[in-house]
Amino acid sequence: MNDIRIIAWREFLQYIRTRGFILTLFFIPAWFILGGVVQQLVAETTSVRYFAVVDESGSFAAAIDRTLEADRQRAIFEGLVAWARANVDIAALSRHAPAVAKLLNQDGGDPATIARFVAAGGAGAVVAAVVPDLRPGAADFVPPRANLLRIDPSPDIVAAAKAHDRSALLPVLKGETPVATADGRVPLFALAVIPADFSATAPGFEYWCENQTDPVVQDFLRRALADELRLQTAAELGLAPASIHRLLDATVTVDRFNPSNAAGNGAVSQDDILRIVLPFGIALLLLVAILSISSMLLMAVIEEKSSRVIEMILASTSAERVMAGKLIGAAGAALILMAGWILGGGGAASLLTHSSPGGIVAALVRAHAFGDMPAVAICFVCGLAIHTTIFLGVGAMARSFQEAQSYLGPLLFILFAPIGFVTVVFNEPNGALATLLSFSPLHAPFFLMMRLPNSPPPIGTALAFLWMIVCTVAIVRLMIWGFVSNILRSEPSPGWRMLGHRLARIWRRPA
């Protein structure tokens, strides 16, 4: 055992000391953090789009302002809900201020919710109500910045717009001639001209903007004006204003239930979604970890062959024990990689959601994310064993990196081909394709892991696990044979012609 331990330890140190490994270890958490930070930065640094409306009809500017304010309140409400999830003890809030807790649990896309939020006093009142239930170290609530602001155009701009004076509008819309606002002089992003006869029968308006790829202002104006036209049309049809608002604000909310959920009488919560998504993430991380470690393993074997180090090692121990040591070392490195990614990912999630690490763990416990751990561990071990031994076998067969690449090409194609089916498996985790992929020796560890939280059929799943373990043992044994037979081979691989001759000789050989 001592020789296996020595080889395993050397392999482990060799992998974890490489720059590639360290970079890979930090890549996933850094990617998480970078993604979140970039999202926040984009939200914070996107410039406010100032736009002007020349309303020749005189009856639509107020409607645009109403929609602007409604959008603003919705953005504040959604920001408040996200902040409360990370910073407020919701259970305590439900006892102490159930109405506020209920409000924070409602759909921000529903205009009625926003109306209730405004009626309750808006952000200021809600923040004041949750103060007693703030978690220790909670961050202050910072309302999101408004990204659209309407300004009153100067008479010159109005005149230029009405006269279609392109040359007069150009310096204004290019930002060369800033316009005066309450925030100071700013560049005008867009200008809308609503004609005097703007109506449901003539719903066209002019939109002047130098940037034709940014649709935010244009889409907002179309939505605001369309809503107002619908209101006017409904009024013309004799509907009372209250009825019109009821009509326009009507939305549908969905309360999702899963009969497999024991908690909450089957109600589907965020935790359930986390439970389903998490194994997908872990399966993909496992794939990346296996590929990273296996590539290092392959390169190490080829280097050992070309530098004849392998002869020195095999003068002390057997090829089987060398392989065992290599696999254990690689498994250790893969575990470090996965643990680093999961911890780093958790840390990044904690940082981005302003939650404590304990809060992240509590969310995972609530999501029963640890319930599938034994099965996940089996998938991890089988996936690692299958792919690392295959790469070791290929490394033993190849005399150079080029030769190894020629063997790996078809293998990687087979390995990655079903990646395109991940969405199908996600949508239909117990469908025919998902079941089929669970019995594919190279892919079973990943797809079984993905299916685990979706209550796959017990007998089929047990058979798939059994088949995966049998295939793992068979592949490992085959690759051990390949490794032992080829690790000291230095002559070139037989060409197609030579292979043909050899096969013919075997065929002709009398039984």
């Binding site: 020595i6 080889i7 530098s307 004849r308 002869e311 020195m312 090692i313 003068a315 002390s316 121990t317």
Partner: protein
């Protein structure tokens, strides 16, 4: 008599249709430094790799330490491969400790031995230097250190002097001598006959996978007829009639040097005696023995092979 450390009997090895080793038999005695000589492709490395179990023989047997070959014998062997076999990114000290531990040494003992050997080889200053940053000579010495750190009873060295300058060659020779002094055995392959002449009592010359000669260095020298060069103002043609002289080559190019080729076991003194009897005093008498290099070229080379092999049959013990 004690059992040989290594006993090879009727060993065969094929690579496809090519017979790399054919019916090879020889032995290495305890405490002996054995020279394993042969031109490129003669089958030396294949034989050494079979002794180590890196390659399986197709026929024949290998006995190590008086028992049939088994993996249990590996910790008692030290091996120096033909090409540098160290991890490039490992430090010198780490490399020696790693291979010593694989041979079963405890980490503390391995470290102490590695430290001592590096000091003895004058490499203490590069103990923490990566192999890739060492010169070829230094790396080869580290490789030797890795082969002997566990104090093997039998050292197998494949071309240990290849590519080294004379000073480093001398260091490797000293290490092999030290091993022998400590009562350990060694077998080494080489193309450079001077090393074999200086280190070995017995040698084996391999040609195309077959044993062309096995015996002492002295016996090897006797494979070639002895040449005696005489210079004198008088006519020495009478020497052709002296018993034991196979052939006499007269002077050429106006020089006065005669060359007599003696029959086997004829002492050069008979020529001197014949000259004295005729009253001729040679001004030069050169009766040096053939070098091992000349023997090797004759035995292992294509041209002299037939002649030398037939002699070897008579001379080999």
């Amino acid at each position: 008599m004690s059992e040989p450390i290594l006993q090879i009997t009727d060993l065969d090895k094929y690579y496809g249709e090519n017979k790399a080793v054919a019916g090879l038999s020889f032995g290495v005695e305890p405490g002996e430094v054995f020279g394993f000589l042969g031109p490129n492709g003669a089958g030396k490395t294949s034989t050494l790799r079979m002794i180590l179990g890196l390659v399986k023989p197709d026929a024949g047997s290998i006995r190590l330490f008086g028992a049939p070959w088994s993996r249990d014998a590996l910790p008692r062997l030290g091996y120096l491969p033909e090409e540098r076999g160290l991890y490039k990114r490992m430090k010198a000290m780490e490399a020696i400790v790693f291979f010593a531990r694989l041979k079963g040494l405890h980490v503390a003992v391995a470290r102490r031995r590695a430290h001592d050997i590096l000091e003895r080889l004058g490499l203490s200053h590069v103990a923490r230097t990566r192999i890739e940053n060492l010169s070829r000579g230094m790396a080869q010495k580290v490789q030797v250190a890795a082969a002997i750190a566990h104090e093997p009873e039998f050292l197998i060295l494949d071309e240990p002097f290849s590519g080294l300058d004379p000073i480093n060659q001398q260091t490797i020779e000293d290490i092999i001598r030290d091993q022998a002094k400590a009562g350990r055995s060694a077998i080494f392959s080489t193309h450079t006959m001077q090393h074999a002449e200086r280190l070995c009592r017995r040698i084996l010359i391999l040609r195309k996978g077959r044993k062309a000669f096995e015996g002492s260095v002295e016996d090897a020298r006797r494979l070639l007829p002895r040449r005696v060069r005489l210079e004198a103002a008088a006519d020495l043609s009478f020497i052709a009639g002296v018993p034991g002289v196979d052939r006499l080559e007269p002077p050429q190019d106006g020089r006065r040097i005669w060359e007599a080729i003696l029959a086997n076991r004829t002492e050069p003194g008979v020529l001197l005696a014949a000259c004295m009897a005729r009253g001729v005093t040679p001004t030069r008498f050169d009766a040096s023995e053939p070098t091992l290099h000349e023997v090797f070229v004759a035995v292992a080379g294509a041209d002299g092979a037939a002649e030398a092999t037939s002699s070897a049959g008579a001379e080999a013990p």
